[in-house]
Amino acid sequence: MWRCGVNEIVDGFLTAIYLIVTLNPEVYEVTLRSLYITFSATILASIISIPIALFMAFRTFPGKRIIINLVHTLYALPTVLIGLVVFLMLSRQGPFGFLGLLFTPGGMIIGQMLLVIPIIIGLTYSALIALDPIIKDTIISLGANYFQFMVSILKEIRFVVYATVAMAFGRAISEVGAAIMIGGNIKGYTRVLTTSIALETSMGNIELSMALGIILLLIALVLNFVMTSIRREGE
């Protein structure tokens, strides 16, 4: 069974469909948890990152160029490094140990936020500085105050923001290194799609692993579909 790869892919696909259609409680639960953790992380990261991107795009301050370079470098932040750093921070011996967040979904949300914050800041920032200066001037000449200006600008680049957030979501939900180090892969508590796949594969349950992988892919597909339809509606 272990050696016939193609059959396993086919079997995995059939198993996936079976598990999804029959609403297998374990698969359903793991999928919901993945969505919950990544949704929370992406939304929180967006709330933090978009104002930072706006600030960076329209203000000058010393060290701005360095920060921009840093943000771009952090796109490629290795997830295991985030896992290690957040583990050390949240461990009882670490500076935030008193929060008791290690091996909890909350800790995993923090890890995923750190993973996607640079992406959201960087891509939003790029879209903002690429914006036609005439648009900025127009908004200001219409007498917008600071807040109105920011809102109008964001509206101009909303499709980029949607795409950026979707991309961040995709990166967060598909990572495994940080999830396993911070969450500990506790069944029924911090076990998500990716860590399940790693575990089930090591336990020889290849069909189940394939099924979970296909669900992960389906989530990406649905996400992409939603993004495309929003964009089409906008055009």
Binding site: L32, Y36, G100, Y189, S202, G204
Partner: protein, 324 residues
């Protein structure tokens, strides 16, 4: 524009549903409401170690075989607690223990457990199960180790590997209890592990993974490896490796459970940790351990420690005396 606001509102609602929905399955499948506060509101509460949870760091063998899951279900029937099992290998489990990140350790490396307890991190160790390590390998047995003593087998593997490229060995390479066992055999066979074995050539593959994954890797490479008998039996159906060396005093594999010292880390759930360890050594639980896997694999994966302290060479009270 209105449409978009509706979409946004819907998204917020969905997110809210997730926030509520997932907290109630945060604890476990039964979804007891009381256990669910911690994951969403740890920021504001800031209180360490909610008493409804018991965090157990364990070796991968106890988890991969499914024994721990069985015992967990049994324990949760009459205790209002959710066991959170973190399968990590003995080395990492000890590390979690030293950092005070878990409440209980379930590991299998007496030497390092002793150091751990001497340093004041662990207390109240109880031995709850044992089985044997075995050297498994391909049926063709290119180094010809079948039936040898563990030490002779290692010498044969080492020497065979110098001339025959088919002789390959996969090591856990992860400081786990099984890795410690393997090192002990190398030492007993007269080798210096660090300078002569580790990193000494292509024949010696340091996998760096759990027991199940290591068995699969050895299977793919048609290599020798050291496994505990429980994990090997649980994986036997999926792999082609056969046990080649099973006899030798050095192969005894003893599983101990201990609680993290609450004097060192005040927030650990010591009360429930004690309950759990005492539960492990009760005659009823020992019977579950003795029966585990018999139906599925035709023989037990673990042996009960109760009544066998002489075989194990451990103090009698470690196998039968409940923690007061």
């Amino acid at each position: 524009m209105l449409d978009r606001k509706l979409v946004l509102a819907a998204l917020v609602l969905i997110a809210a549903v997730f926030l509520c929905g997932c907290t109630s399955d945060g604890g476990d499948d039964t979804g007891t409401e009381a256990t669910t506060v911690a994951p969403t509101a740890p920021m504001e509460s800031g209180t360490p170690a909610t008493p409804e949870f018991l965090k157990i760091a364990t070796t991968t063998s106890l988890d991969n075989t499914g024994l721990l899951e069985t015992l967990k279900e049994e324990f949760e029937k009459d205790h209002d607690v959710t066991l959170q099992i973190i399968a990590a290998g003995t080395g990492k489990a000890l590390e979690y223990g030293e950092r005070g990140d878990v409440d209980v350790l379930m590991v299998h490396d007496r030497a390092r457990e002793d150091i751990f307890m001497d340093n004041g991190y662990g207390i109240n160790r109880r031995v709850f199960a044992y089985n044997y390590f075995m050297i498994v390998g391909p049926e063709s047995d290119p180094a010809g180790i079948a039936g040898m003593t563990p030490e002779d087998a290692f010498i044969a593997i080492y020497e065979g590997a110098q001339t025959n490229p088919e002789v390959v060995m996969v090591s856990r390479g992860d400081n786990s209890g099984t890795h410690a066992e393997e090192k002990a055999i190398w030492t007993s066979a007269g080798y210096n592990y660090t300078s002569e074995i580790a990193g000494s050539g292509d024949w010696y593959v340091e996998g760096g993974q759990g027991m199940g994954a290591t068995l699969q890797m050895a299977n793919e490479l048609q290599a020798y490896t050291v496994s505990d008998s429980g994990t090997y039996l649980a994986y036997q159906g999926d792999i082609e490796l056969v046990p080649l060396v099973e006899e030798g005093d050095i192969l005894l594999n003893i599983y101990g459970a201990m609680m993290i010292n609450p004097e060192k880390f005040s927030y650990v759930n010591a009360e429930m940790a004690k309950e759990w360890i005492n539960f492990l050594i009760t005659p009823a639980t020992q019977e579950i351990i003795a029966d585990f896997g018999v139906e599925e694999y035709g023989q037990p994966l673990f042996f009960p420690a109760l009544g066998n302290y002489e075989i194990l060479g451990v103090p009698q009270e470690e196998t039968e005396q409940p923690i007061p």
